[in-house]
Symmetry: none
Subunit: 197 residues, 4 copies
DNA sequence: ACCGACGGGACCGCCCGTTGTT
DNA sequence: AACAACGGGCGGTCCCGTCGGT
């Protein structure tokens, strides 16, 4: 990777953290200058505007989260194991976040509720991807007979993601992992008693 | 109610909506001027700063939500009915919000993650109140034999609130009430099969 | 004196102090509201504008200073005594000011240097009055043979006033009456050795 | 001198004039923008705040005055000549000011009487420097036998500075150099008759 | 005769983005 | 490829003044 590309990546990584903590409107270019150690010119050479940077930083954050999820899914073949890994990924996201500030998709969904349509659209797409991924795990499991056929794959995926996202936010609000643990316990119970054939 | 008090209430109501949609840093005093129809002088007469206004507007929003919840609980005596009413209140909050922008507690929790400690503290307190309220409904139900004694009141409360909040955010992101419906279906099933004695 | 007149006087007294300490542009109507204990409406009922109030407050301050000077001159008949009394009045103005903030004429002269022409004109007139008064004391003394005829009444008056005003400002800057004492010592020596026949 | 340094110096020079005429609270950043021909971004790039700019502008003004005084003292070796040069410097300051608005030390002393403690402290230091300089000239003269040993160096310095400052202010108030001339005549007479051995 | 409430504008500081320079 | 310097505008806050009420 050439020098320029490394700088660009460096900016994205730091900017992703800043935006994830402070939000798009709460973060200033000065914050990003400080976080990156670059001057304005250096940043604007790589990105055309604050919004453009935010969009790419969001993608960066989602990629990071997806990579973390992929790592958790690696070597898990059984659908119930894979589903548990998804839940564990949320726990990991709370305990050892790659980027500070919680779930970028949720944060962006809530902040871009009003204004930024481009960011909102990306958050939507990322959320769809997440839901589809979980749904796919369940559906595949059903096809392979690892998960009860009567289960509603899509609904279950929504329940898993919604409750995990909610628990993540609440745990972060309190600075206490207990809420997340409680929800995870519930989800594990759902997996064991409702999905297992 | 005197004229001054009416104006103050009017500002709070409009500002609560603006802040709930745009967030604290995303909302400008100009936005609030437009929403209230007042000029700066009028707003600053009632509230010393943007932050002070935001704090009181958050309280206003929480009061509204609590009132909506209280209305849903009215005339419900059986614990399972009351618990269902809580879930219904989230559906109502999505379908017919008193204030636009979703759940003020969740929004504030996520946005104030970084900066505003005063807002964050209020969000914490409001979330505690909500969790405690749901937990209380369950605990009371257990005392009265309306809810299975083996259930974990606190954990169940967390699951209900976390999944409902998550579903609310996701439904709002998609502009589609399906995710909320799916989670509600799940919660109703939990209530019927796990809590009912 | 009727109630309205008393209020008006009260405002003038407090406003004179505020303006003398903070200057015209440095003082806000809020400062004067606080100093007077009145609300805006009350002040504006008596005075048409901040500038109008400042003008009258300046006159009030000058009247106070003149009264203090007149009191010092009372019962002094000999010109040298009267001249000494003028000098003493400056010392008194430093030690026990009727209004805080130093000499209103000097303060206004320096602050209104740029903008406020009306205030500047009043400061000019007040300074002329002061110089003329001192000159008159010396000239009368010369007519009565109490002061050496060769002395230049106008020049001496300027020296007395300029050095006393300068000393007052310097002493106030340092919060130390020594500079004033040193100048007074000098002026007393001038009176004794140069003016006494 | 690089471009940036030139701009910074340019801002200081113009701002010093604006502050000296209008005072700290009477001058707005818009005034300084107009005087410098720069926009806010340019000014705030060099100075962090209005106060920071005012502080440095005050230092600039004092440096200018000191340079003018130093120039007047150049080639003067005899203490009485040097003392006369100090007095002449005040006359020059009135007739051909390097910065408009009179003596920055006196102006700042009087305006910062109330609020700005940082400015006040700088005015104090500058006044101390001036008094010490004049006192030093006299004391050196006494050591060299050029000035009568009985003279009180410190007191004489105070008298010279106080009367010159007072005369400067009064002359500026009237727009007439006569008061300054009268005081200078007096000071020359003091020098000739009281200090000359 | 005075207060409470509000309008509208000016204030300082920070913002995002651009440009000359290296 | 990046920095230093600057333009122009919006941000929240405070300002002076007015007007309805009492």
């Amino acid at each position: 990777m050439e020098r320029s590309e490394r700088t660009r990546e460096h900016i994205l990584q730091r900017a992703a953290g800043v935006f994830n903590r402070q939000g798009f409107s709460g973060a200033s270019m000065a914050d990003i200058m400080e976080a990156t150690g670059l001057q304005k010119g250096g940043i604007y050479w790589h990105f055309g505007s604050k919004e453009q940077l935010a969009l790419e930083a969001f993608d960066y954050a989602v990629d990071q989260a997806n990579a973390q999820l992929a790592a958790a899914l690696e070597h898990r073949t059984h659908a119930l194991d894979r589903l548990s890994a998804v839940v564990e990924a949320f726990v990991e996201h709370l305990a050892n976040p790659r980027l500070p500030g919680g779930c970028a998709v949720m944060n962006t969904a809530i902040e871009s509720d009003d204004g930024n349509v481009a960011l909102r659209e990306r958050a939507r797409a990322a959320m769809v991807d997440l839901l589809r991924a979980v749904e796919g795990i369940i559906a595949e499991g059903q096809e392979r007979g690892e998960i009860r056929a009567e289960a509603d794959a899509r609904q279950t995926a929504t329940v898993v993601v919604a409750s995990a996202e909610g628990a993540l936010a609440i745990s972060r609000l309190f600075g206490d992992h207990t809420p997340m643990d409680q929800v995870v316990t519930h989800l594990r119970w759902v997996i064991d008693t409702q999905l297992r054939p």
